[in-house]
């Protein structure tokens, strides 16, 4: 189904043509961003249908986790809970957005198989659906972030503009990863498991639950070469009033540019075939 009045589909006409078609898909998805939003909203609502607290569960379960981990880890590492809880809470919230957008990206096209096989909806619409769904969930967590910033007396000197910039970098990066794994997972069904093990390993290797300044200097490369660390720190540091590590912004910008180029190239090459993978 389509509101377009003219549709032309042709066979392959070389890489440049394929890239143009892929670009047209991207543009069409931009024009129908409201559809992606409706689908994302529907996903969030339907997950909690039949529950009493509804989407508040997202906030509540996150809150319980933050409290538990904050108290336990604070005790284990002998750091003051007052400063550790905001650190771990902000970390869990934003790292959660990164990992779940990537993990759920694996299902993007598989889940949309029915719609893709009988409509000419842009494929990017479903990528935005996954990204927007996770941003809606993030919207719920803002309450937690606000609560811990007030609890830790950080809310007066947090750099909110810097945090927003960090979120923008985060979205720019996780969306291409989400797109990339969506295409590959449609073709090879063992990719979701592989992606999950990577994001799980990242949760341990990235200072979400531990303080980055505890790392010995000779192990500092674990942070420097960890893309998740830069993604997280670009948002967390401004909120907690610490400084963003040097090079983080340039690394994130380079990652976004290189990643989008790679994801778009793959999409242009496989666009015709994705519906047949499903």
């Amino acid at each position: 189904m389509d509101t377009a009045h003219h549709m032309l589909r042709t066979g392959r006409r070389g890489p440049l043509f394929e890239a143009q078609m892929a670009l047209r898909d991207l543009r069409a998805s931009g024009e129908r961003l409201d559809l992606a939003w409706s689908l994302a909203w529907h996903d969030v609502v339907s997950r909690y249908r039949g529950s009493i607290l509804g989407p508040l569960w997202i906030t509540l379960s996150m809150g319980v986790m933050v409290l538990g981990i904050g108290v336990l880890w604070g005790g284990l590492f002998r750091v003051p809970i007052h400063s550790f809880i905001p650190f771990v809470a902000v970390g869990i919230v934003f790292f959660g957005v990164v990992t779940s957008t990537i993990n759920e990206g694996c299902d993007t096209f598989v889940q949309a198989a029915g719609m893709l096989s009988q409509t000419s909806l842009p494929m990017f619409t479903f990528v935005w659906r996954t990204v927007l769904r996770n941003l809606i969930n993030l919207g719920h967590h803002v309450a937690i972030v606000a609560a811990v910033l007030i609890y830790g007396d950080l809310w007066t000197h947090a750099n909110y503009a810097g945090a927003l910039l960090g979120v923008a970098f985060m979205v720019a990066n996780v969306s291409w990863v989400s797109m990339l794994v969506a295409v590959i997972s449609a073709r090879f069904r063992d990719i979701p498991q592989a992606v999950q093990s990577v994001t799980q390993a990242a949760a341990i290797m990235t200072p979400v639950f531990w303080l980055p300044d505890r790392i010995p200097p000779d192990y500092h490369w674990i942070l420097d070469f960890n893309p998740f660390y830069h993604l997280l720190e670009a948002v967390r540091a401004p909120l907690l009033g610490t400084t963003v590590p040097p090079h983080t912004y340039s690394i994130l910008a380079a990652m976004a540019a290189g990643g989008w180029a790679a994801a778009f190239w793959l999409f242009a090459r496989t666009r015709r075939r994705i519906v047949h993978y499903l």
Binding site: M1, D2, T3, A4, H5, H6, M7, L8, R9, T10, G11, R12, R32, D34, L35, S38, L39, H42, S46, R49, G50, G114, M115, L116, S117, Q118, T119, S120, L121, R187, R271, R272, R273, V275, H276, Y277
Partner: protein
Amino acid sequence: MKAPPVSISCRDLSLRFPVYGVDAKSLKKYVAKITVGGKLDRHHGATEVTALSHLNLELKAGDRLGLIGHNGSGKTTLLRALSGAYEPDDGAIEVEGRIAALLDLNLGIDPTATGYDNIRLRGRIAGLTSREIDARMDEIAEFSGLGPFLAMPVKTYSAGMQARLAFAAATAVEADVLLMDEWIAVGDAEFQKLAHRRLLKLVERAGILVLASHDLGLVRLYCNKVMRLEGGVASPVTDIKKLDELLAA
């Protein structure tokens, strides 16, 4: 009704399905002599099914084409290609006009959501705005005949009720080009009569109808032209009056 240009044009259209994770050799011995399905082939090391080959088709406003043929002869594939979901491997498809593909009644139906929510979702997928959907809601609700059940989750519906809901929602869109697969026989006798009337109206409003069906009675009822597909190869488009000759050929 004002008449914007409405047309369908397929020029030398070929469509091949890659089949992943299948050893073509083990398949080939079985498929060599059967009439069902398209032609199997190896292409660049992957198994491929030629679902449509070198198909030419020109339709203009007022044409109502019936597609007939065996299971797997390419009818649904052609409809999906016309809907824009499948990209041709060779040749071109050009469609002027708003397309409505009623191929799968359950498109976008979420069983845990209420009837109303499903109508909204379906309408959004079809390209209606929330306001347009609200404006049509009463009419859709009345046509479905589901009354208070629309406020309940679709999973509580019987199969017939689900079909009513899906049909009502799917047919609420205005289109110039209507693509239909053979699911028209839905619901009980009373609803079938209603559905039939609604479809006739939709067909009148739509400039072009392409209907795939095994039911020749249905094809005679709705269509004025007919095309037969066999293993992805199409017969010329013929007048419905010559249906018997086409079948004999």
